[in-house]
Symmetry: C2
DNA sequence: CTTGCCTCTACAGCCGCTGTAGAGAGTAAT
DNA sequence: ATTACTCTCTACAGCGGCTGTAGAGGCAAG
């Protein structure tokens, strides 16, 4: 009796990626077409686990699928200069930082509008006032006018 | 000659929301059906500008459409207690903070893997090494093992 | 009248999956 | 061998929040 073949479910649990997602990755050619058993079930090996884990880690870090595709391509050219790999990573870092800045601004504004509200009727809710008009929130954060209603 | 009616393009520029997006908001009943001119063009008024600006500001702050729907409903009940408004805002703040934490972890790991790379061949690139195995990055950030390859 | 932009509808596509339906395959216990 | 249960298969629709396209018609200035 041979070693039991690795089916998609096994690969799924080993790499921490859902079965449907694996099939999706295959459909977009991010994972290669695996061998099939006689009955048509997908059969994987250790390299599949590695590749899928790589993809998963990159996705966890927010790399878009297209970048991952490029990274995998580069991985198969070990003698090349790694500058292009690093460039992809830096691009991703820039992207993350951009989103981070956005979110920090959102957090600040949300915090202010919530802190300003002392309860009461919807009519006097500062949250709605801020949403209706950004000027109702002091300390401008995402553009437009600023400081018109100080005090 | 009457005042010129506000068509969708005018509303678009006044509220800073694309024409197609306005039509989309109408299709999902976030914006009400506007009046139409004889030839069938959408005609808006000042309340449309206000409502659309409100929506835009809330979207800028990351509120999901469903929350905005709820906020608009609440806005039309000015005598009610604003607790439910504030709850929606706090939920959104929690959401933003969650994403912020995620992104901070991503930033840290990306920064580390990029900083560690001193150039050279793809084969020795720390970026790819980290992506291949999270353990290759010290200071664990999103789960699994830590500190196995110190020094 | 022509030019050129604006508006209309209806529908497909984006990303990165997730869920569904309906069928067949594999495994374990009775 | 039968039942019961899980796993796997394909194909396709749906999520959120838009964006883009095609092909048609409206409208104001030169
Ligand atoms: Zn309030
Ligand atoms: Zn604002
Ligand atoms: Zn490198
Ligand atoms: Zn990691």
């Amino acid at each position: 009796m041979e070693l039991k073949a690795m089916t998609i479910g096994k690969l799924s649990s080993r790499a921490g990626v859902k079965v449907t997602t694996i099939r999706y990755y295959e459909s977009i050619d991010l994972m290669p077409q695996p061998h099939r058993s006689e009955s048509g079930q997908r059969i994987y090996d250790e390299t599949s686990v590695e590749r899928l884990s790589f993809i998963r880690h990159a996705r966890d870090l927010g790399f878009p699928v297209e970048s991952i595709r490029d990274l995998i391509d580069l991985q198969s050219k070990p003698d090349q200069d790694c500058a292009s790999v690093d460039a992809i990573a830096r691009r991703q870092l820039a992207n993350v930082r951009y989103r981070l800045n956005q979110l920090e601004a959102l957090e600040a504004e949300l915090k202010r509008m919530i802190a300003a509200c002392e309860g009461g009727s919807v009519e006097n809710c500062t949250v709605l006032a801020c949403l209706s008009d950004h000027n109702n929130c002091r300390e401008d954060e995402h553009g437009r006018l600023n400081g018109l209603l100080e005090g």
